[in-house]
């Protein structure tokens, strides 16, 4: 067959197979000079001063602030206006009061209405001292109208005219708490019917000398980020109808008779007990047994059953019933059923262990082996657990074994036992002094006695001072040291001392003895200002110091052989290789010693000696084990550690019974009780000439006859009728119930009347005790009850009940913004600034499709702390950029002394590039009202070093 008789399709498929035969390539490594396609760039933009300016935007809506202000906010005073939208209340349950309907969840009456305000500052201290000047607090309220009220769109500085009918609503009932105060509002029908809203105006005008000058409260816009519950809220206290469902027993058993007598039969009538309606038939019970079983829930296995039983025969039981009068009109029948039946056989010694054949009741403690003994209580000779030990003459605070109820009535102050005591507990507790002499490390050995590490690398401790020891030595290498040379920068100020190390430091009365802490009143302070000063440590101070290693690579920080692919590394010839450090060159911030802390001799962050912390292995001197009060002579036993007041616990301390002294006869800590050791909890029955531990003479089965009787093989079989329905008022002679006569005991209901029920028990064999319950289906009663409740609400449905805003005058009314040479931000006064960057527009136009790097693209501002308008020394601020109608959150600025503020700006530039923001509009920088509205930030505008600068890092 000729080769080329193959069809075209065959060729096609063969060729396709070849396509997938092989394709294998390694990556090609290419020098960057060939790529010539650097994809990552930086472009810097300086602010265009002519087109950058601060201005006051009077279109701000202050009602959107998270905060409200009453009082002095600088040189002006602010009032708080609150509006309660009564229209939302009108349709709420609080205005649907109905005293007659008795329907579920209907409000019957309103007791009171309060409004709750929450403050950012503490207004009452722990001693209930009100910190604000309450006499200067004025609160007026009433229905009315403010024509121009609009919380969401009322311009800043708008005049708000108070409604004319407002009256003072502040009274003696105002309740202050640490950070809240509640104010009673005169709630009445008009709140539900008035077409006007209810307004509250809060003003606060304290004397200038008063420390508390301004109330700063949460507003109805406030959110913690998780919850809105801290907004101003209304607290309704009211009475409401609630539907109650009650289960009522249709009858009670008032009397019980066995063969016509009330002997040997007992019944439970207490309807609070789950055992109610149970009947016990037992002989020879103690007097008052019927009261006992009605006082607490007692089950048959808890009853000591008499040895005397009942012979075979027929027994008539009559139970007197008292049908519940309150429901008598509502019920016609009762369905009876007998359940919970137990019949105990008449057997005096079911286990056949009674004396003299057995060991029960023989008057002596019996044991077959260590695991098979009579039941004993391992409490020592005091027959008392540690908790109730009196600590005096081996006595007990109560008769624990015979009358344990007594123990439950003991008051806390009666107890000698105290496992939570901190004095004398052998451990170092908060409040106890830990002496430096005891801070020897886990080796328990002070430096002077340390003998160094042995061949196995373990620490050794000498009994006498190491003769080769010198001050500062640490033979066992266990000293805790974080900064051996003490050259770490700690921003403690020019004095080099942090507050706690300064003379006369007191955390409450003198926090800054040297008066060098940076803050609003001391902006030249050097401690905590975030800037290194002479006198502070040089390691880790973020700048080069003499003695530190550096690479003399020039200001670009890149060595010469790496500069070939660095476009901006050309002009560093003056600084590269000049044998002097220049800013930008890499260095090791080791401090002048040229060694990082972790390489300094002695550096040991894991050391335990001298770490000022008690470590296991260290001996805590008993004289310092004074408890959390730190007072060993307090004469107070309440903090004494005591877990064995009678000192009778077995601790395996050996024959000398002293754990501190090691016994030479190997009896100490041998895991077994030895003569001479104590008794409680030694897991064996103890006795001596003076007495013994308590035991039950029940034989080695550890059960008395009464409980032996309740074992399953000692119970009799029975037959009982099914449910019997009785119509109240009839005399019911119950017909034959077809009992199983083969059973030992047969229950039959003979007759039922409105007053009693007769039950016949036919015992085919003798028995010792019977338990059964006369059960029935209870009556379900539904009733309406008036209950008191209160709601704290800030909205009904999705409607905010409260609107609020602060009203104040313009602080910058006379400020010359045109001549202002700074950039300023002030939320309260609507001060913002516009920033224009030279060539930014051209850059964006000329570089379409670039990608702005998020990590490095930064807008840098510099804070002007010294400016008289600057007022931002605490807390935080949210900075936003507004371009046209678009707002972009930039960052949260923390107040500190570092004047450089770096703001991530990539997303704004990227949005401009993507066309989401129109750069032809000005970039306006502004604050929001989330944090303290009074903060004012001033930034350098035109300055040789501190002018704003934008650096855009991007990929092409």
């Amino acid at each position: 067959m000729p080769l080329f008789n193959l069809t075209i399709s065959n060729f096609f498929f063969i060729s396709l197979a070849i396509i997938f035969f092989s394709c294998e390539s390694d990556p090609v490594s290419v020098d960057s000079s060939f790529i010539n396609n650097n994809s990552f760039f930086v472009q810097s933009f300086n602010a265009n001063m002519e087109n950058s300016y601060t201005f006051q935007d009077d279109s701000l809506f202050t009602g959107r602030s998270y905060r409200l202000y009453a009082g002095d906010i600088g040189d002006i005073n602010s009032k708080i206006f609150i509006k309660i939208n009564t229209s939302y209340l009108a349709d709420s349950k609080y205005c649907l009061i109905d005293t007659m309907s008795f329907s579920d969840s209907t409000i019957h009456s309103i007791d009171s209405l309060q409004i709750i305000f929450r403050s950012f500052d503490e207004i009452m201290d722990e001693d209930s001292l009100v910190l604000i000047d309450a006499t200067s607090l004025n609160i007026f309220g009433g229905f009315g109208t403010i024509e121009n009220w609009n919380e969401d769109s009322l311009y800043i500085f708008s005049d708000l005219e108070e409604p004319i009918n407002l009256t003072s609503i502040i009274d003696s009932n105002i309740e202050f708490e640490n950070y809240t105060f509640n104010l009673n509002l005169p709630f009445d029908e008009s709140w539900c019917t008035s077409e006007e809203d209810y307004y509250i105006v809060i003003s606060y005008t304290p004397e200038e000398s008063h420390e508390f000058q301004c109330l700063e409260l949460t507003s109805s816009q406030y959110s913690s980020g998780i919850s809105d519950s801290y907004r101003p809220s209304l607290d309704f206290s009211y009475n409401q109808f609630n539907e109650i469902i009650e289960y009522i027993d249709r009858f009670n058993i008032t009397e019980s008779y066995l063969d016509g007598e009330n002997q040997n039969i007992f019944h439970i009538y207490n309807d609070t007990l789950s055992t109610k309606s149970k009947i016990y038939i037992i002989k020879e019970m103690i007097e008052g047994f019927n009261d006992t079983i009605n006082n607490q829930e007692i089950y048959l296995n808890q009853i000591s059953i008499s040895s005397t039983g009942f012979s075979a025969g027929i027994y008539e039981i009559d139970l007197t019933l008292d049908i519940e009068d309150n429901i008598l009109d509502s019920i016609t029948t009762i369905d009876f059923i007998l359940d919970s039946i137990i019949v105990v056989a008449d057997n005096d010694d079911p286990s056949q262990d009674n004396n003299p054949l057995g060991t029960e009741g023989n008057g002596i403690f019996d044991s077959i082996n260590i695991d098979s003994t009579e039941l004993f209580i391992d409490l020592g000779f005091d027959w008392c657990p540690d908790l109730y030990e009196a600590g005096i003459e081996n006595s007990c605070l109560c008769d624990f074994l015979n009358h344990p109820d007594e123990c439950d009535t003991l008051e806390d102050e009666n107890f000698i036992y105290n496992e939570d005591g901190t004095e004398g507990n052998g451990a170092h507790d908060i409040g106890e002094e830990f002496p430096q002499s005891a801070d020897t490390g886990i080796d328990g050995c002070a430096d002077a006695y340390e003998g160094g590490l042995n061949e196995e690398g373990n620490t050794t401790c000498l009994e006498e001072i190491n003769p080769s020891y010198e001050e500062g030595f640490d033979p066992n290498e266990d000293n805790y040291l974080l900064d051996p040379i003490e050259d770490d920068w700690n921003d403690c100020g020019e004095d080099g001392l942090c507050d706690e190390n300064e003379d006369d430091y007191d955390p409450e009365s003198n926090e800054d003895p040297s008066d060098d802490n940076w803050g609003s009143t001391n902006i030249s302070g050097t401690e905590g200002n975030g800037v290194w000063e002479e006198g502070e440590g040089t390691e880790g101070n973020g700048q080069y110091d003499e003695g530190e290693s550096y690479h003399d690579w020039g200001i670009d920080g890149i060595p010469e052989d790496e500069e070939s692919n660095c476009f901006d590394c050309i002009d560093d010839s003056n600084s590269e290789g000049n044998d002097a450090y220049d800013f930008g060159e890499p260095y090791q911030d080791t401090g002048a010693d040229g060694v990082y802390t972790f390489n300094e001799d002695g550096y040991n962050p894991n050391g335990t000696e001298g770490n000022e912390v008690f470590n296991i292995g260290e001996d805590f001197p008993i004289e310092y084990d004074c408890g959390e009060d730190g007072d060993c002579d307090d004469g107070d036993v309440s903090d004494d550690y005591n877990i064995d007041p009678n000192n009778d616990n077995w601790l395996d301390c050996g024959s000398d019974s002293d754990c501190e002294v090691t016994d030479e006869d190997d009896t100490q800590e041998n895991g077994a009780w030895d003569e001479g050791e104590l008794y409680q909890n030694n897991n064996q029955f103890d006795y001596n000439d003076s007495g013994s531990e308590f035991y039950y003479d029940w034989g080695t089965d550890q059960l008395p006859d009464s409980l032996e009787a309740l074992s399953s093989n000692n119970l009799l079989s029975y037959s009982a009728p099914s449910t019997i329905s009785y119509t109240i008022g009839e005399n019911l002679i119950v017909p034959d119930q077809n009992p199983d006569t083969t059973k030992d005991i047969i229950f039959e209901v003979a007759e039922i009347t409105s007053e009693s029920i007769s039950i016949t028990i036919t015992a085919n064999t003798a028995f010792k005790a019977i338990q059964f319950r006369l059960n029935h289906s209870p009556y379900i009663n539904e009733t309406i009850e008036l209950v008191h409740d209160n709601d704290i609400i800030s909205k009904i449905g999705q409607d905010e009940l409260v609107e609020d805003l602060s009203s104040y005058n313009n602080l910058f009314d006379s400020h010359d913004f045109v001549s202002d040479s700074t950039l300023m931000l002030d939320y309260f006064n609507g001060v913002r600034f516009s920033l224009n960057f030279s060539n930014l527009s051209n850059f964006i136009i000329e570089n379409p499709g670039i990608y702005i790097n998020d990590s490095y693209t930064t807008l840098g501002f510099y804070l002007y702390h010294e400016n008289s308008n600057y007022s931002f020394f605490e807390n935080q601020l949210n900075l936003w950029a507004k371009i046209g109608t678009e707002n972009r959150f930039l960052t949260t600025i923390n107040a500190n002394s570092n004047n450089e503020v770096l703001i991530p700006f990539a997303h704004v530039i990227q949005d401009i590039i993507n066309g989401d923001i129109d750069l032809s509009e000005d970039i306006i920088f502004l604050l929001d009202g989330v944090y303290d509205n009074r903060s004012r930030v001033v930034l350098y505008k035109e300055h040789d070093t501190f002018s704003p600068k934008l650096e855009v890092f991007y990929s092409e």
């Binding site: 060729f11 070849i18 394709c23 390694d26 990552f40 920080g557 890149i558 060595p559 890499p586």
Partner: protein, 451 residues
């Protein structure tokens, strides 16, 4: 759209060399085995029917309907591992009159399939920014594949007894995907060994560029035969090349930002083809149109000559030689010169090449099935004119061909071994091979053929 992309990917797994770094990839000139064996010549054939399936002016010489496949393999000798086997050419031609033929074909025009790792990257000194604490370094990793394909239609005719004319309309289309991961690191100086500085990766940006090409060119060929002498000339005028340009940034494997954050997985999506991008909107796109319109192309046709070739063939019965001169890529398209269109923004090099081919044909007129065995040898010298300097490609070629079934079927093998010298890369030794199968059938056979 999907089918379009599939076609391009199918033809994208083709040999890679340093030439793939230029333009839209390596320019494909040798696509058929006979030409390869004859020193990468273009115009002439050593078969008695004078048919060369890539030389359009010769196509009228066959009175059969013909289908041609070429499959090629390539491998580097030494250097980096780089092997490929795949289809390089397909054409379908048929006669319409006794002296005219039409053909259609599909062949790669430029191709690239490379992974590139930038060795050193670019540094940014600390003094370039007021806000960064350490010098930065950016380094890129690239994966580039795809290129331009050529779907053409040609017309071939005899002009008088000794002249042939060919016209070819090349329709260019194709996708090229460029994936670029830009790794940004801080430059941490070592104080233990000043030469052992380290780059600590801080950030990365993924960039994907998808270029979709469309365009055309016109080719005119002329062959003249005078006794034992043949002369050939060819020139190509480039029409506009338009590009749909799309740029994508940071397409993550996990698209949901929150899920990405919680799983701490910021890996980028692995893109295997343009299909994977269909569900994403580009971050930037542009339609780059060449600066020539169709109506002005004809009037400027001589100003836009891209390639031209001249050739001479001496044939004395069954032995002969060929010499040719080729010049390619004279004209630079505006659109291909826009940033991000050419690979790494390197322009396609111009080339000037000199070709020599020798052949000896052994005819076997006695055998009905087996008509001839053609032994071929040759070589060429090509100069590459890169922007950064001049490179060269010197190669020797060998091959063999078989005419079968009265020359209705042709089987050709061609091999080439050579060395590329360029300024930016190490010398590259290579071997390439080509298998072409030309099948003739009588579907549209002309009456002049003797049965």
């Amino acid at each position: 759209m999907r089918a379009y992309i599939h076609i391009i990917i199918l033809f994208s797994f083709i040999y890679s060399s340093s030439l793939e770094f230029y333009g839209t990839g390596e320019r494909y000139n040798e696509i058929e085995a006979m030409g390869m064996a004859l020193g990468n010549t273009y115009f002439f054939s050593d078969y008695t029917n004078g048919l060369n399936s890539t030389s359009i002016a010769t196509l009228w010489r066959s009175d059969l309907t013909r289908i041609t496949f070429s499959s090629k393999f390539s491998s580097n000798i030494g250097g980096i591992n780089d092997k490929d086997i795949n289809i390089s050419f397909f054409s379908f031609s048929f006669p319409i009159t006794a002296s005219k033929a039409i053909s259609f074909g599909l062949a790669p025009y430029t191709r690239s399939n490379i992974k590139v790792i930038e060795e050193n990257g670019f540094s940014m000194g600390q003094n370039s920014s007021e806000f960064i604490d350490l010098p930065l370094n950016s380094r890129s990793e690239y994966k580039i594949f795809g290129g331009i394909s050529n779907l053409y239609a040609s017309f071939s005719m005899a002009v008088g007894k000794n002249n042939s004319f060919g016209f070819k309309l090349n329709n260019f289309f194709g996708n090229q995907m460029k994936m670029n991961k830009i790794i940004i690191s801080t430059f941490d100086a070592s104080f233990n060994d000043s030469t052992d500085n380290t780059f600590i990766e801080q950030d990365s940006t993924s960039k994907i560029i998808l270029n979709q090409f469309s365009g055309y060119s016109m080719q005119f060929d002329w062959n003249t035969k005078v006794g034992n002498h043949q002369f050939g000339a060819s020139l190509v005028a480039m029409g506009p090349i338009n590009i749909n340009y799309r740029k994508y940034y940071n397409i993550y494997s996990i698209s949901d930002p929150l899920e990405r954050y919680y799983l701490i997985d910021y890996s980028y999506l692995y893109i295997e083809s343009g299909n994977d991008l269909l569900s994403y909107d580009p971050d930037y796109s542009d339609q780059i149109d060449d600066n020539v319109k169709i109506n002005t192309f004809v009037s400027n046709i001589f100003n836009r000559i891209n390639d031209y070739r001249f050739g001479y063939n001496y044939n004395n019965n069954n032995i002969g030689f060929i010499v040719e001169f080729h010049r390619t890529d004279l004209f630079k398209n505006y659109s291909l010169g826009v940033d991000d269109i050419s690979i790494l923004n390197n322009n396609q090099p111009s080339t000037t090449s000199y070709h020599l081919g020798l052949y000896k044909r052994y005819d076997n007129s006695k055998a009905k099935f087996f008509n001839s065995i053609n032994l071929r040898a040759g070589g060429y010298y090509k100069k590459y004119f890169f922007e950064e300097g001049v490179g060269s490609d010197l190669a020797l070629t060998l091959g063999i061909g078989f005419g079968i079934n009265n020359y209705s079927n042709l089987i050709d093998f061609g091999f080439r071994i050579g060395q590329i010298n360029s300024i930016m890369f190490e010398n590259e030794n290579y071997i390439k091979g080509n298998l072409s199968i030309n099948i003739g059938e009588k579907w549209f056979s002309r009456s002049r053929r003797k049965q």
